[in-house]
């Protein structure tokens, strides 16, 4: 199985598993952008809205049984996906026991760049997201190098903040701007199942390099939102161009078990106002609340 995962996962330097591409996105950084969502994430956040991007397909074939369009079939023991037949009903990803999707594509840097190239006049940049793009760091470095060599498009990374910066210096160096999550100060393990992470150090490092476009915190009760917002806000006060986005956790589109986990943790709008006021009081210049 390990070998199989290697074949499909981030270890491939020249290929990556792409969950989705949005050719024109207006929510993944400034302006109109080409957004790439990689498969695979190193976090397991309890409020994740795209859990199908977390894991890797194990070809268990369970999804074949639930596809109403017969868009999924079995070829040599592996899942084959027919995009033309798919109606995006998401039955397959709801069935998947591995938090994966059979609708991914393995793409090379050149294949991805060809698509970017064809929409170049209409976009101002590309954004890689996920899953977690740092898991594909070698691929992203190659992609960004190509984009920068052949265009003046900006290159953004949207990350969960759980990476070791000392191992990622080359990617940080070539990336124009980051959008990153600061999920919690003390409850990361409980919230995201991640140990020994250093998102605050990473934020500090990226801020000093003027590489931060936006920081996001999902506000969820019982997960030290106040301390998280206060800490991040203190760091952002000297960076007037950086947007701080406070997102009220919500359950729309979530699976039943996830809904159950967070149903008592949804903050009211008064709490959101308090969080915004706190950020502003601490000196953040640009605060955006998503209710």
């Amino acid at each position: 199985m390990q070998e199989y995962l290697k074949e499909k996962s981030a270890v491939m330097d020249c290929k990556a598993i792409v969950n989705k591409i949005i050719h024109f996105s207006n929510v993944d950084g400034p302006g109109n952008r080409f957004a790439v969502f990689f498969q695979g994430c190193n976090a397991r956040c309890i409020y994740c809205h795209n859990p199908e991007t977390i894991g890797y397909c194990m070809d268990c074939l369970e999804c074949l049984e639930v596809c109403p369009q017969n868009a999924l079939s079995c070829v040599n023991g592996k899942v084959k996906y027919n995009e033309q037949l798919c109606i995006s009903c998401d039955a397959c990803i709801h069935k998947c026991p591995y938090h994966a999707s059979p609708r991914t594509k393995i793409m090379t840097v050149n294949e991805l760049y060809d698509q970017i190239q064809s929409y170049k006049p209409f976009i101002r940049g590309i954004t890689v997201s996920g899953g977690e793009p740092f898991l594909n760091h070698n691929f992203v470095i190659k992609l960004f190098k190509k984009v920068k060599k052949e265009s003046n498009l900006s290159c953004f990374v949207d990350t969960n903040g759980f990476f070791d910066k000392d191992e990622m210096l080359e990617l940080i160096d070539i990336t124009d701007q980051f959008m990153l999550d600061i999920k919690s100060i003390h409850k990361v393990q409980e919230l995201c199942g991640v140990e020994n992470s250093h998102p605050i150090e990473n934020l500090e490092y990226l801020l000093k390099k003027s590489k931060v476009y936006e920081v996001r915190t999902v506000i969820i009760e019982g997960m030290d939102a106040e301390e998280t917002v206060a800490t991040v806000s203190s760091m952002l006060k000297d960076y007037p161009d950086v947007n701080y986005k406070l997102i009220k956790v919500h359950t729309t589109g979530m699976s039943g078990s996830r809904k159950e986990m967070i149903k008592n943790k949804i903050p009211d709008n008064i709490k959101m106002d308090q969080m915004r006021a706190l950020a502003l009081k601490k000196g953040v210049h640009k605060v955006e609340c998503i209710l």
């Binding site: 050719h23 024109f24 996105s25 207006n26 400034p30 302006g31 109109n32 929409y119 006049p121 209409f122």
Partner: protein, 508 residues
């Protein structure tokens, strides 16, 4: 199309038309009562193409007494005043706005309302000296236009440079939410300040105007020009005598192959339409005495030498789909690269025929009439099967990135104007810069004109003109409404489902 005496009675007793609409409709019916064969010399063949709905004369009439589109030189009016109206050049903003409202009343067109009311920001900006009170005056002026020029083919231009007046105009149109005047930002990314263009994009999302015209491209093709009516680019201090259109869908349906269409039918119908245009223009210039009796001509606010004529087309999509069907191809216009090839063959054929024709009284455009991507109308059953210009029919639209690229390749043919429009979802109101990226891309890839609006707004662009959906609903309910364009828009929507355009979000 010829009219009948019955049309007069029906119009007179209508319970849905206002007095003013009846008056103008009766005048139009009168123009169409006379026999075009007698007064203009139309041939039997030319008449047959009208009667078969292959050529549409947009009910321009046959006893012609004014050019279809008149584009006055308002700067000359500001500088010299007007002897006929006994108006002196304005000395302050109030005089300027008053003078303009007076002149608008005397600018004819096919609608009897002015289709061009000037480059408002350029005219107004030198007179601004009190931002607070001048803003109130500008807003009142724009509102006055909306309530008295009751036809939203009335068009104002702003830009390409940002001005204080331009900023005030953008603010006022967003507050007023009026259909009239239609408006264009003449956009050149090397000249137009990005903050100004972004504000214009925001206004365009909220109130469906201003649209964006490609100033560089039009200037290269046309020289001194104005954007008038829907999105027509016409010579300054002149205009266009006439605009008939080919219904390409209807023409194609009478053929059984691409070869027959290109080499037989299309040349024959095109030649007939060109001949009709010649005859119309000759009557207008030589017999109607328009240029002899108009003070606009006498005082050189317009010059006969600056007029041209527009050769319109609609239904490229249906023509291509018919050929694809004939060739048993399971493809459709908008999603088929082979379909695009067919479309180019059709357009190149028409372009060659039109360019080789020696037009009359068209020296401003080197004796050539100019191709126009006409926005459509609702005049006969066949208009259900002829989508505006080269557009993809509503309901068949591909995802936005593909749609943008498909549409842009046809703009080059239409020197006197064409345009594409895209409806965006609410997320774009927070990101007008994303809309500007799309507009910049469009201009860089050969678009002449692009516009947008936000889903769920009342004020929307039907094809090239603006109406309020709430007004169209009144028409559906059988009530009289202020603007004739609401009546037209309602009819067009019934046919072409323009209120149901695909809403663009997440790149779809």
């Amino acid at each position: 199309m010829k009219s009948t005496l019955e049309d007069i009675i029906n119009t007179a007793v209508s319970d849905k038309l206002t007095y003013q609409q009846k008056l103008f409709n009766l005048a139009n019916i009168a123009e169409r009562l006379v026999d075009p064969k007698k007064i203009l010399g139309y041939s039997e063949k030319e008449m047959a193409y009208i009667e078969k709905d292959m050529i549409c004369d947009l009910n321009e009439g046959y006893a012609i007494y004014r050019p279809r589109y008149i584009v006055p030189d308002y700067m000359a009016f500001l500088k010299h005043g007007c002897r006929f109206l006994d108006i002196r050049p304005p000395e302050d903003l109030e005089e300027l706005l008053d003078n303009l409202l007076i002149l608008y009343h005397h600018v004819p067109s096919i609608t009897s309302f002015p289709v061009f009311i000037g480059r408002l920001d350029l005219m107004i900006d030198p007179f601004i000296n009190d931002e607070k009170y001048d803003y109130i005056r500008i807003k009142r002026f724009l509102n006055h236009i909306d309530k008295t020029i009751t036809d939203s083919f009335c068009h104002a231009d702003i830009g390409p440079k940002a001005t204080r007046a331009g900023e005030m105009i953008l603010k006022a149109i967003m507050e007023l939410e009026n259909p009239t005047p239609n408006m264009t930002l003449r956009y050149d990314k090397d000249i137009t300040d990005p903050d100004f263009s972004q504000k214009a994009a925001e206004a365009c999302l909220k109130v469906s105007k201003p649209s964006f015209s490609n100033e560089k491209m039009y200037y290269q093709d046309m020289g001194e020009h104005e954007i008038v009516s829907c999105y027509n680019a016409l010579p300054s201090a002149g205009g266009a005598y006439t605009l008939p259109r080919l219904r390409l869908g209807t023409i194609a349906h009478s053929t059984s192959s691409l070869d027959e269409l290109l080499n037989d039918k299309l040349p024959d119908v095109s030649e007939a339409m060109l001949s009709m245009m010649d005859k119309r223009i000759k009557f207008l210039v030589e017999k109607s005495n328009f240029f002899e009796s108009s003070f606009l001509a006498d005082e050189e606010l317009i010059k006969k030498e600056n007029f041209t004529a527009m050769f319109g087309i609609v239904g490229l999509a249906e023509a291509v789909n018919h050929i694809l069907n004939m060739e048993n191809k399971d493809e459709q216009f908008g999603l088929s690269s082979y379909g695009d090839e067919i479309a180019h063959k059709i357009m190149k054929k028409i372009q060659t025929i039109v360019n080789e024709h020696e037009g009359v009284y068209a020296e401003r455009t080197n004796g050539r009439y100019l191709l126009h991507g006409q926005v459509g109308a609702n005049l006969c059953h066949e208009d259900n099967f002829n989508t505006p210009a080269h557009r993809i029919p509503v309901g068949d639209e591909p995802p936005l990135p593909k749609h943008l690229k498909q549409a842009g390749q046809f703009h080059k043919y239409f020197e006197s104007g064409t345009g594409d429009l895209f409806a965006f979802d609410q997320t774009y109101i927070k990101k007008p810069q994303a809309v500007m990226d799309i507009i910049n891309g469009a201009m860089d890839t050969g678009y002449r004109y692009i516009t947008t609006y936000l889903e769920n707004t009342d004020l929307i662009r039907v094809t090239g003109y603006l109406i309020k959906k709430s007004e169209a609903q009144k028409v559906t309910d059988g009530k009289a409404v202020l603007r004739d364009t609401a009546i037209m828009g309602e009819g067009t929507n019934q046919n072409a489902r323009v209120f149901e355009r695909k809403i663009r979000r997440n790149g779809l």
